[in-house]
Amino acid sequence: MHILCCLARVPDTTTRIHVAADGRSPDLKDAQWIINPWDDYALEAAVQLKEALGGEVTVVHVGPVDFQKDLRAALAKGADKALQIQTTGALGPHSIAALIAAHCGKPDAVFLGKQSVDGDVGATGAFLGKLLGLPVAGRLSALTIKDGTFTARREIEGGVETVEGSLPALFTLDKGVNEPRRAGLKEIMAAKKKPLEVVKAEPLPPRLEALKLELPRARQGGRIVGTGAGAVSELVRLLRDEAKAL
């Protein structure tokens, strides 16, 4: 089995966002960068599938900045090969998908996170599925693959859907689908010997033009109504008469 797992690089979720000098992009100079939180589930699912059915897991990242440390970490968690497609210029889901499709052959199973926590778009999987000719099962919080078919769950507003299909397929994963593993020292050492390739490529032109980046108006919080149960009646009054929230 050729199993592919796509890893995005995002600013740590504690990052405070500032507007860059151009007025339309975030200034992320001081950000700490991490693997997109949902992609940890994608990696774990890819490795579990390999452990069940055999084959090889390739992790791929598209982006301008050296991501080798994180790719090595993914190798330590059980991936076999890593590829960084090194680009310059702005990336959209269509161009990330196009570059992955051009460099990663014909996978039997592809795993992504449900969305990246920076742009909050959630479209790379759909574009990649289309380009690879694979059916897409998205935002899954449980997934069982057996005898070439799969059964999955997707949490929607007020309910849970059962999603079914067969391999080859592309999956985007939500929390709950598995418990991502940690790598031990032995795995970290072994990962140093696994292949990690870097190729350079040009992304497609962007499809959205950024006009402006704005920060939300700061909330005027900080009004303490009182202490303990004694403050409850005043709170109810404020909610009813002032905030008209009841």
């Binding site: 979720t13 920076d118 959630g122 929607i156 959205l208 950024a210 980046l213 939300p216 303490i224 404020l238």
Partner: protein, 321 residues
């Protein structure tokens, strides 16, 4: 030059989702400046029921035995081409976000995801998109048309559903290969339970509750208010609550009329998911907790003491109406 807007109507249990009604109303508002007409499309097992809310708009239907995102995306793309429309509008529910991305992929078109405001600008649109879970808002414009737009539930006004004429079938036959992944069942959440992303009031609990059993106090308050129950990631990770209830950057982003945070510290990832709520109340025993910086009203105190008192006081206040 493509013109006009196709709006996808999501139908669940014979009822058009509120998010779709909002997308429809917004499309009608914008088409006054953009020109072109608004057409509705309903796909899937419940498609025929969509006319209960399509009003004066032309409705196309594409029935399917089981929902398939791929088949629905193909149908939406076919409708867009047939009408030579410039935009596809989709309510950004979970299903809607899957469909919108798939449709953009089929059309190989620009995709404006989860927008909270739209403005006509000549023949195109400008959109406000929250990024970093709402820590910033990016104003964007597609560089080509057609383009696909998903609209955040609750961010746009909707009209009351008005029944229209029964839909006419879309001239498009779903391809068998588009039926490779199917939704074969839907288990509704327990009766009376609201989803945090759809509720007008959300009462959330955090680690300050102390035990999973103590969440009963949160449930009681929520039931008096007709609210949904939310949770911080800490208690989801502890297994006290399900992930469906998690509010925040890696959970759900909510913007209810009233958000009550109980025993939640207010970590930046949690705040990202709820600071656009209209009114925020925080109950926390630590006066320095960061949640108080965003709360309109705070009570410093122990949840075990404050929550039952608040539930009782609200019960009395609301029954008096």
């Amino acid at each position: 030059m493509p013109k006009g807007i196709i709006v996808h109507l999501e139908v669940r249990g014979g009822v058009v989702k509120r998010a779709s009604l909002e997308a429809l109303a917004e499309a009608q508002r914008l088409s006054a400046s953009l020109g072109g007409s608004v057409t509705a499309l309903a796909v899937g097992p419940d498609a025929a029921a969509a006319h209960a809310a399509s009003g004066s708009v032309k409705l196309l239907t594409c029935p399917l035995e089981h929902w398939s995102t791929e088949a629905a995306a193909n149908a939406l793309a076919a409708a867009l081409r047939a009408e030579d429309a410039a935009f596809a509008f989709i309510g950004a529910t979970v299903q809607g976000r899957e469909l919108a991305a798939a449709t953009a992929a089929v059309l190989d078109a620009p995709y404006l995801a989860d927008v909270v405001a739209l403005r006509a600008n000549g023949t195109t649109l400008e959109a406000d998109r929250p990024i970093f879970a709402g820590k910033a808002v990016l104003v964007v414009r597609p560089v080509a048309l057609p383009a696909v737009v998903s609209l955040r539930p609750g961010a746009f006004a909707s009209n009351a559903p008005v029944a229209g004429a029964p839909g006419s079938p879309l001239a498009h036959t779903p391809d068998a290969t588009a039926l490779r992944v199917l939704v074969t069942a839907l288990a509704a959440a327990a009766a009376g339970r609201k989803d945090v992303s759809e509720a007008e009031i959300v009462v959330s609990g955090g680690r300050g509750l102390g035990t999973p059993e103590a969440f009963q106090m949160v449930e009681d308050l929520a039931s008096v208010l007709g609210a949904a129950v939310g949770a911080s990631r800490a208690v989801v990770d502890l297994g006290w609550r399900s992930h469906a209830e998690q509010v925040g950057q890696t959970g759900k982003v909510v913007a209810p009329k009233l958000y009550i945070a109980c025993g939640i510290s207010g970590a930046i990832q949690h705040l990202a998911g709820m600071t656009t709520s209209r009114t925020i109340v925080a109950i926390n025993k630590d006066p320095e907790a960061p949640i108080f910086k965003v709360a309109d009203y705070g009570i410093v105190g122990d949840v075990a003491e404050v929550l039952p008192a608040l539930t009782a006081a609200l019960k009395a206040a609301l029954s008096g109406r």
